[in-house]
Every structure is written in C-alpha cells, then in structure tokens.
C-alpha cells in the first residue's frame, strides 16, 4: 500500500518530525536524527554570538534533511514574517513553521496572528506549517490562506502531557483536508502512536527526545510509535464497497 507522506509538494517516508532544541549537545542531535530516520527537522534563527564562536547547528544536520525554520521568538505576525524571510535568505529552503507566541506563561500560540503570517508568507511562496491551538475556524482559515499543513498542539510545549486536546485534534483531522501534524506536548511514544491512530498525518517531537536520558534511543522509539500508529490507522480503513450507500453503508438498502 502506497502511504507516501506528501507535504509541501515533497514526498517523505517518515512521518516523524524532530525538533532540534534543548539537546545536551549536538552529537546527540545528529545521532537522534539518524536513529529515528526523521527527514524534516525544525531549527530556529537567533542573533549570532559576537563574543564567541559557536557551533552551527546546520553542520550537525545530515545532508538531504528538510529544514523547517521555526519563527520562535516572534511575538507578532510581522516578526514571524521577518524571521521567515531571513531564513529563506540563508539559501537553506523556504519551509517555515509559523510560531507566534506572546505569552511566556503557557507559551500558547496566537492563532489570529498565525493566520495573518501564514497568509502573507504563503503568498510569497513559502511552504508554511502553522503552529496553533486546535480550533476548527482557525484551521479552516489556515487552509484557505494556503498553509501546507496545520500543526495543532497536543498539550503545552514541553509538558509531555500527551493529547490533552485530542477531541479538538480529531475534529481537525475529520474536517480539514490539509495534513494535520500534531506538535507540542508529546511526552511518550504512546502519545505519538495515539495521534497517528486517530488519523494525524505526522507528529513533531522535540523536548521528550532532547531531555531523555538516551535521546537517540528515544527518537527511535517515537519514530517506531509513529509507524505503528499509522499502520494501525490504515489497517482500520474499510475496503471500498462499490454499491454501498456512503452515508448509510449498512442499512441504506432498507430505504432504497
């Protein structure tokens, strides 16, 4: 069965996205990317340290990985757009995760500002993956604005609490036609598996891998959980019935 993950016009095998923040060192990061088979990783943009030389994260990300620049730090749509443009100017691609947060207590994204930034960036040809609190209206607006996917949070960033918002994520999966990539709050492989079983297109994990005692092993476990959940989801899809009444496949015949 062909289950290629198409995102932003590109084909991927892995539905496990890895964030690169919070790792104890960069070699652990490289090992985690390799052990998990992640093909898309997020990075952020920061002012360089003028006093000291620091290692550049790009040197620790293997060739061929798609970079998804997170606009983290942006507190408004304008700042997010500015960061995205900077990232594109680097020559390392035009994929952006729009993250607009003006809240340091919960780190909840500003859905409205995210929609604005998405519209602006999509119009400029970026592949936009917006990070939002799951909300149907927001998701519809994002779809209309040209987002390549929607990234609803499972629970608060870094909390590892799993799919606290599962019912709302399910609404998005059921109602939105662009991929739903669950991001934030995935603390255990079972959470990642659960998201995929529900029908999510992919999952992004950062903190749970970075702070694990053994990040490469953790990354591998999450990637496997994503595969298992995806297979579980696909295995439940019914075979198409040619003559079935789609809305009442079992009892429609009584009313024909």
């Amino acid at each position: 069965m062909d289950d290629t993950f198409i995102l932003g016009g590109k084909s991927f095998v892995s539905r496990f996205l890895l964030g690169t923040g919070k790792f104890k060192n960069k070699t652990e990061l490289t090992a985690s990317i390799l052990s998990s088979g992640a093909q898309i990783v997020t990075v952020a943009l920061r002012r360089i340290d003028l006093e000291r030389d620091h290692e550049n994260i790009l040197e620790y990300i293997p060739e061929g990985i798609t970079l998804l620049t997170n606009t983290s730090g942006a507190r408004t749509a304008e700042e997010a757009v500015r960061l995205a443009r900077l990232a594109r100017a680097s020559g390392h691609g035009h994929w952006v995760k729009v993250e607009v947060i003006n809240d340091s207590k919960y780190l909840l994204p500003d859905n409205a500002a995210t929609v604005d930034a998405t519209a602006a960036l999509a119009a400029e040809g970026f592949i936009v993956l917006p990070y939002v609190t799951p909300d149907l209206y927001t998701a519809r607006q994002l779809e209309k604005a040209g987002a390549a996917a929607v990234m609803p949070l499972g629970s608060f960033i870094g909390s590892g609490q799993g799919l606290r918002t599962r019912d709302m994520i399910k609404v998005l999966i059921d109602e939105i036609s662009i991929p739903v990539i669950v991001d934030a709050g995935i603390g255990a492989p079972s959470h990642a598996c659960e998201a995929m079983e529900m029908g999510a297109a992919a999952v992004l994990v950062n903190t749970a891998v970075a702070i694990a005692a053994n990040p490469p092993l953790a990354a591998q476990s999450f990637a496997r959980a994503v595969e298992a959940g995806r297979a579980g989801h696909l295995s439940r899809l019914a075979q198409p019935q040619p003559a079935a009444n789609p809305s009442s496949p079992l009892t429609g015949f009584l009313f024909e």
């Binding site: 075979q239 009442s248 079992l250 009892t251």
Partner: protein, 339 residues
C-alpha cells in the same frame, strides 16, 4: 446492564429515522466484530421426522395438516448425514416434530450417535423433555439444544397451540433450565416473529435469557428470530414484521447481549441475509432442506416445515463469505467426551 423495557423496544421499532438505524447497525457491527471477529458459524438442519402430536396453527407440520408423515430410518439418517458432511458442514441441527411417540428418546439417541461419526457439533430442536432425557442426549454426544418459546404471551400462546404437549406453556418455558442442568453446552432460544406482540415478546425473551445467564453462566447462549413465513403460500395471519424492524430487532439484541450468538436461518432471502451477515449475525444455516431428509436424494422434497428463501448451497454460501471478508467456521470446538 439494563435491558430495554417493552416501551423502549416499541419506541425503537416505531422510530423511522434512517440515521439512527444506521448508527445502531454500526454499533451492533462493532460489538459483533470485537466479540466474534470476522467469522460466521455454519450449520445445516436435518429434519428426521415430521410426525407431530401437537397442533400449532402456524406450522407446516401441524397435527391436523394433511401431509405425508414420514420418519427416517437409521440407514436413511446415515445417508443424509453423509451427504451433508460431504458438503463440508460439521455442525448439524437435528429436528423432529413434537412426537415422543414417533421419535422417542431412544430414536434421538441413535440419531446422535450416528451424527458423531460425521459432525463435531450436534444440536437438537425437538420436543421439550425431562432433565434426565436431556442428559441422555448429552452423553450420546449432543452439545446443544434449540427451543423456541414461540411467544411469551400466554393468551396468544393458548390461541395458536391447540393440541398436544405443546399446549403446556410452562413445561416449555422451563425446558432451558433442564437443558442447562443436563450439562448441555449450548442453548438457543427464540421467538417466532409476527406470532405474538413483538416488543413484549422481545422483552420477555431478553428477560428469560438474562435469568438463564445468571443461573447457568457456563452455557453458551444464542438467540434466533425466525420470521413467520408462508408455507406453500398458505398465509397465516400475524403481525407483519418488516425488514427494517427485523434489522432493528437483531441490532437491539446485539446491543443488549454483546456476546450471545445470533442465528439466521434460510427463512430469510439471500439478499437480506447478505446484509445481515455484515451487521451482527454469528451463525447461519446453509443449504437447508426443511422437509424430512432431502439431502441424500435432493428433490425428494417432502412437505417442508417452512419455505426456504435462501436456496444457496454450502459451496455457494462459503464462497460468498470468503469473498466478503468473512471466515466460515465449520468447527468451533471438538468434543472429547461428553461427561
């Protein structure tokens, strides 16, 4: 879990909303699949005799009906069983009319012993008897008994059962307990849909089953809902249970009893059986002849008890199941020694 009241059942039967029916069917299917998987048990009925001392106004075998009365000899029984087994079937249901005189215990025991040569599952649908008699059937090798109360409405019951032992409502009602006490592993109960008031009969059937489950939890129970059909186009006046109601009845049964078997006979036409297979049935009869014998020499069609509406033979039915994602189950489990 609480059983639906007669009024709740009536409300469901009167509800014409297609979406609610579909939702009920989806839930019934989900529960059935969880508990039974993608499987269907198969069995074939063999009528050993149509001699009957009772007069049930709705039955093709009724005492006053002028049909050719016949009873298979042990050699004929063997020939019939051989033919059924040759079609791949390993579960047989042996039926007789209500006549301890024509088909006494010894006759039934002989038939069962013969059946053990060919079948792993042997059930009987015969007249109610004493516990010790059921015990004899069990030790001979039978593992199941089917007995329908027909209707739990005493007034209606008296109205349609006009002669013979069948008139005794209570003896029949208490038979399942005696069957369980005798050690039988499998008991099938049922009502004849359209004979009595449907919602009340369903409620009474559910209550009967529920009390048996409590008292004899080791028994594997099944329910069956034969719909009154015409025999050779002789109509019997009864309440009409339409297809939608029939579907609701089966679904409601599944929702009320997640793990009991739900049987479906060849009284129902192929197209409807095909639909119901997808929803909540767990055992079906195949290749049925409902007159005495009829397998060894097909066309030797003695007067049938009811008209068969699904005439597919075993091979056709097996093929249908396999091409529709259902595994036909011939043998559920094997008897070692009925002790």
């Amino acid at each position: 879990m609480s059983l639906p009241s007669p009024q709740e059942i009536r409300d469901i039967l009167n509800d014409n909303c297609p979406q609610r029916l579909e939702a009920m069917a989806q839930e019934a299917r989900r529960i059935t699949r969880h508990n039974f998987g993608m499987t269907m048990g198969l069995y074939t009925p063999l009528y050993l005799s149509n001699h009957c001392d009772s007069h049930c106004t709705y039955c093709g075998f009724r005492n006053r009906h002028k049909i050719q009365r016949t009873r298979l000899s042990i050699d004929e029984i063997r020939a019939e069983m051989k033919a059924i087994a040759a079609a791949g079937i390993r579960n047989i249901l042996l039926l007789t009319g209500e006549s301890p005189h024509a088909t006494p215990l010894s006759y039934l025991v002989n038939a069962i012993q013969c059946a053990t040569e060919f079948f792993q599952g042997i059930s009987l649908e015969v007249y109610p008897m004493a516990t010790s008699d059921y015990r004899a059937l069990y030790t001979a090798g039978a593992d199941g008994v089917t007995i329908y109360q027909e209707t739990y409405d005493r007034a209606r019951y008296a109205q349609v059962h006009l002669a013979g032992q069948k008139q005794d409502f209570t003896f029949r009602y208490q038979a399942p307990e005696r069957i369980a006490q005798a050690g039988m592993r499998q008991i099938t109960l049922g009502i004849l849909l359209g004979l009595g008031p449907v919602a009340d009969d369903m409620h009474a059937l559910f209550t009967h089953l529920h009390s048996l489950e409590k008292k004899y939890p080791g028994v594997e129970y099944s329910l069956s809902f034969p719909r009154l059909r015409t025999v050779r186009s002789k109509a019997f006046t009864a309440a009409h249970v339409d297809d939608a109601s029939f579907v609701k009845i089966l679904c409601l049964t599944r929702l009320s009893f997640p793990r009991i078997g739900i049987n479906l006979s060849t009284r129902e036409p192929a197209a409807l059986r095909n639909r119901l297979l997808e929803i909540c049935t767990t055992r079906i009869s195949v290749g049925s002849k409902t007159g005495v014998g009829g397998y060894h020499n097909p066309g030797d069609d003695h007067d049938p008890q009811f008209d068969v509406a699904d005439e597919r033979n075993s091979a056709e039915m097996i093929q249908y199941l396999k091409t529709h994602g259902i595994d036909p189950v011939f043998t559920d489990w094997r008897r070692i020694e009925n002790t």
